[in-house]
Subunit: 288 residues, 4 copies
């Protein structure tokens, strides 16, 4: 599936500041970047980094006083793995790859330790597997109201569980916290999302699950309790423990954001199969 | 119904201290004190007070260094009002007596303001009335585990809603918070409780509800989400906004509690009707 | 000292609602109401209540769909008690009148139980008395930034102690919580305030302290850690445990506030002494 | 400096469980493991892992019902880098290596985002550099009481800042949160500690700071606000964002710990210089 996407960000730099942007799409075997262009105005030097053992790409800019505009545009080809949800199982701690273990730990916005009893009481009796994580998403979708402006940068899963309102990152945080509380590794995914209205950066989450045929082969399966976007409409920017890891801009200094605009287009071509249309599906979707 | 009850408390006074005891049963038209005896050892002067517009009786003791023992014993005759739950209704704010209005406000342990959306989501769609408060109690009974030692003096309804464990005061606090969030005045009741094992001071709550026949006549109806005690087995010591108001001992100074023992006996006599046996009932029970 | 004051409130009533206004100035021996006028437009019936053992006056209005305007205007004569701060002492728990004891308990926004160690560490070593409460106010004034819009209706003293920003009610809550943590009874005071810019309802707090000459005679002394208003410029509407008790409007229903305007004028007359000018003073000021 | 150390852990395995131990000392260029022995009784298979880009060594054991004893013993040679504190500077965000950036983000127990204003108010005016982190440690040492059992596994820096009591991990969390709030990368260090009484696993923290001579060369400098141990008496097991990352045992299943014993001996040999004696120092100490 091919997507063309981009963002336009505009800042007022009040004092010389350093900004870390995390807006470039990830480059992975399953997400090829066919074309990419990043423009800073006024033209500024920047460095690009990749964190060890992560695909997140960080752009560090030292900005002078005045205006700063960022234009980013990319064309990317994304592959997904589709599975029958009935064949997707939870992995016992003994079978988890060691590098996914940290995604079981509580984090700033996903206090799984404090949500243990709630998670057990609501989901502990359910059949383990993809369907249990789906049940978590349904619970969130049904009980939490999606309401723009109803949460702040301090709102955590603990609050959302009880205050019952939030935005996409709050939905993701609660899903992650519930999964971890049940010993299912889970992480946040930040990205561009096809069909989101109004266009914005979007957060959902991935749970690390196995396959019935080969219990040793785990994959990160995508879940979005907001149900706002087709599951194969995500183009990944970054993954992390929670929103603290994947902010699209981390600002050191005195800076005001003045504008943000995004777009995501689906590029239909002759090779596109019906499975590859960005429409809601009942398949389980994962990284290949 | 007649009960004989009492407590024996033993303290080590490490420095001269002032203690406020709130262990005497309330004297009300519906709770006659037939006999009462309070002994302090060593013999100490004390003063008894009653807070304005409340029935709580406070005993203030200035204790010298050494041991302090408190023996309290009382015989009391308690009357309850029994109603058919189907006839008990919620009162609109326009019809509430002004003196019950403060029991709608959030308090230290019952942050009804922060639980508003949860309460609305879980109970907002239910038919108002006694049955809705019962539904709140059932929710608490089913979802919260009664576990001695699982909460502290800092635990509030906000925590209990999510941590799903607690003791009687936590159960009461959550019931109170949910009621207030739905505009039902609610208050804590601390007292002696017949049949509680092990014997201890017990907390439950009252909601202010009206009657179908006369919507202007409200009463405080008793609810206990722990279901540990028959509803007509409570002998009231104090009421308040939450546990902060009804501690059985408020200590100013350096004091260690060393022992606490309680007993509650039901006194069967020839006048006792079957309705007046302390056994679980499906009736709504209130102050007459 | 004579003040003329008033407020003009405008609401959009979206569905039939009940509103409790608490905007009338308190009538006490020390605050005479010389003239008072309350107009509702459209003209509506309302009831006035006074809570038992409190001076707060509540106006209950059942509002129909449409607009509701409230015009309130009063002329009041206020007397203060002035004392030399050096003669104002803290009272031991053994000497506190029983009706002030509840103002030692933690409340929704003043979790003195959770601030005990912080209060002891910062103020425990100071000489008890008026000067210690002054030290609390200085701490708050110096360490907390007054910033309109920096807190919400959920913000409590616990948060303000650490987030270090807030508005008048947050300043008052923190002062109250620190006092209670040190066994000094403290309560919130809501009122009109002379000289506040922009004009608004204002909150400060009172601590119950004694006098050197007669340790049995306690009084409620006024403190305002915001230092925005001269201490004898307060005209009291209500007192309570914290902001939960003294909201100027408690709304049951679907209502939007559209406008709020206040004014407070000082009426200088031939009897006014220099002490009675509303200017900052180093005297301790209390209810007579 | 050579240390011999070890631990003996004893568990009751109530149902088949998976345990991740993180008790082996890290192997780094500056911490050579001269000898090491890990015994499980009953003899069990285990796997050893190292997380990518971290030195933490994890031992995964699948334990059968019954008892499980772990005996670990190691001899290690540790090198430290000693610097004059006056030459140690803070690095601007523009100069930080990208892999230390995540140590600026808030984490489960170190909510630097919520402590920003407190940190700025207390330490914002201080001269940046080693001395500012020292000032943070002094603040914690002076204002927070070290009290065994005074915190739980849920206690975070936000709580410790206000409740003013805790154990070593709480001290470290608060130091980390303050540093991050000031844009100084900081991480937790868990390890064995020479001279700690009673012997126990110990937590302190490291801040990433630069050197005056070469502002591009950063190092992780060690800080311990508990002041319980000489700075060169730490033998590192693990580093991480906070305690969630470095638990010495992560248990999946039903397991009770029954015993824990540790020892740390300093091995004096002929090569030992006076600087290498484990005694308190005013030098800045870092990883070489």
């Amino acid at each position: 599936m091919k997507y063309e996407l981009g963002c336009h960000l505009k800042y007022k730099i009040i004092q010389p500041s350093t900004i870390l942007f995390n807006i470039n799409v990830a480059k992975t075997p399953y997400q090829q970047v066919l074309h990419e262009d990043l423009q800073l105005t006024p033209s500024s030097d920047f460095e690009e980094y990749q964190l060890p053992s992560q695909e997140n790409r960080l752009i560090r800019v030292n900005a002078e006083v005045g205006e700063l505009e960022v234009h980013y545009r990319a064309t990317t080809k994304v592959s997904y793995y589709y599975a029958d949800p009935a064949t997707v199982v939870e992995l016992p701690p003994a079978a988890l790859p060691i590098e996914v273990i940290p995604y079981l730990y509580p984090s700033r916005y996903c206090q799984s330790d404090r949500l243990m009893r709630l998670a057990t009481s609501e989901f502990g009796h359910l059949q383990p597997g993809y369907s249990r994580v789906s049940a978590i998403c349904n619970w969130i979708y049904e009980k939490v109201t999606y309401l723009s402006g109803s949460s702040t940068s301090e709102t955590s899963a603990y609050d959302t569980a009880i205050q019952r309102q939030g935005v996409c990152r709050d939905f993701a945080h609660l899903g992650i916290a519930f999964c971890r509380a049940l010993n299912i590794p889970a992480r946040i995914v930040a990205g561009y999302a096809y069909g989101l209205k109004p266009a914005d950066f979007h957060a959902c989450f991935e749970a690390y699950l196995g396959s019935e045929e080969s219990s040793q082969t785990g994959r990160w399966y995508l879940f979005d309790p907001t149900r706002l976007v087709p599951q194969n409409g995500y183009i990944r920017i970054a993954t992390g423990r929670d929103a603290a890891d994947v902010a699209f801009a981390t600002i050191f200094g005195n800076v005001e954001m003045q504008q943000m605009r995004l777009f995501v287009d689906f590029l239909l071509d002759s090779e596109t199969t019906s499975k590859e249309l960005p429409v809601p599906t009942t398949d389980a979707i994962a990284l290949p």
